[in-house]
């Protein structure tokens, strides 16, 4: 029996804890669980109305935003939320990498599937700790975002995608002087 499938456009965001395996190995499963819970708290604190968590993926999360600008701004804000939740010396580092893409995936129940989801995942894998990488598609869709600085990194070839994909780094704009 065919399941219910629909489509809609939106921003797809993946988060991923950097060094999760090493931290789990060194400090055990209870600490691993606390890191995952810290990430979840920070993600929920960063989500605007209309955005939601699609699913947890072990040490990562898959998020959905109706607006591209909100996805990018929330992703940049996420690391600040994490820092605020573990600012003391003894807190284990929680470094999250984030990838943001705009697309039209297939909805299968509460899950999303398709090329755009795969691409968002691949872009996330290229991000450094505490970094937000965005495709040019989601940045174009977002338009101007006060307080956000975007840096073009060139195009990336990602596994399974034929053409190189232009990517940009999003970070909080720092004002000098």
């Amino acid at each position: 029996m065919a399941s219910s499938v629909s489509t809609s456009s939106g921003a797809i965001v993946f988060t991923d804890i950097v060094g999760f395996t090493e931290l789990t190995e060194a400090h055990g499963d209870d600490v691993a669980l606390s890191l995952v819970e810290r990430q979840e708290r920070a993600v929920h604190a960063s989500l605007p109305a209309g955005a939601r968590v699609i699913k947890a993926l072990g040490d990562g999360m898959l998020l959905w935003f109706e607006r591209a600008d909100e996805a990018i701004v929330a992703s940049v804000r996420l690391q600040a939320e994490i820092d605020a939740d573990g600012a003391d010396d003894d807190a284990l580092p929680l470094w999250v990498r984030t990838g943001v893409h705009w697309g039209t995936p297939r909805w299968r129940g509460d899950d999303i599937i398709g090329r755009d989801v795969n691409l968002a995942s691949r872009v996330t894998a290229l991000a450094a700790a505490r970094e937000v990488l965005c495709t040019d598609v989601v940045v174009a869709r977002a338009g101007p975002m006060p307080g956000i600085e975007l840096t073009s990194l060139g195009s990336v070839y990602v596994k399974g995608i034929v053409d190189a994909v232009p990517v940009l780094r999003a970070e909080r704009l720092t004002v000098e002087g």
Binding site: E22, D90, P93, W95, L126
Partner: protein, 223 residues
């Protein structure tokens, strides 16, 4: 005489060699060149090697999936994104390199040098501002004024000028900061289970060093 250009080289798999020469005109071997109205130049190729000669001061963006990337001479902004393959940049005003695997070597960067990698060894000679991020590849900077490094399991080595600001954080790697000159340093060092050694006197007027590791050791010594 050639003015500096903005050159974008996009090729899935090829060895890319760029040579910046004062006053040179653009010359490309092994690639197809498209010149745009805004002055940008696109180079694409299906061949296994591209050689580019360009005016000194040009900016170069290289996108590949595999193949080594080498730049010689003085360039403006250099950006490289590759999955695998050695990356070597001799001299640039600003550098951003992103790779999964394949050694990265930077000679001199007058401005900001940012390198992100999964497993590559990263070596930077001198840079004003350097920001390095790696999962398992060792990272080292011979000399920097403002240095930030973050690794999961690999060693961090930083040579800091006497006025440097250093931030080095790793989960299970070791951190070594070597301070040049005779001034004291202000240090904030923290390791949960590793040894912490301060071989430089604590005090104002010199470098500021902030380092942490959850299980690796941290040492601050004279350079």
């Amino acid at each position: 005489m050639g003015d500096p250009l903005h050159i974008r080289i996009t090729v899935r798999s090829a060895r890319v060699d760029v040579r910046a020469v004062t006053g040179a005109d653009l010359a490309v071997e092994g690639g197809h060149v498209t010149r745009h109205r805004d002055g940008a130049v696109d180079v694409t190729s299906s061949r296994s090697a591209i050689e580019v000669v360009c005016p000194a001061g040009s900016s170069v963006t290289v996108s590949t999936a595999s193949g080594s990337v080498t730049t010689r001479g003085r360039l403006g902004v250099v950006r490289v994104v590759t999955a695998s393959g050695r990356v070597e940049v001799e001299h640039a005003e600003e550098i951003e390199i992103r790779t999964v695997a394949g050694r990265v070597e930077v000679g001199e960067c007058a401005g900001s040098c940012r390198v992100t990698s999964k497993s590559s060894r990263i070596e930077v000679g001198t840079a004003n501002v350097v920001e390095l991020s790696s999962t398992s590849g060792r990272v080292s900077v011979r000399q920097a004024d403002l240095a930030s490094a973050r690794t999961v399991s690999s060693r961090i080595e930083i040579g800091a000028t006497s006025a440097a600001r250093v931030s080095a954080h790793t989960i299970s790697g070791r951190v070594e900061v070597r301070v040049l000159g005779r001034l004291p340093a202000r240090m904030h060092l923290h390791s949960r289970t590793g040894a912490v050694e301060r071989k430089v006197p604590e005090g104002e007027g010199g470098a500021h060093i902030e380092a942490s590791s959850t299980s690796g050791s941290i040492v601050v010594d004279r350079g």
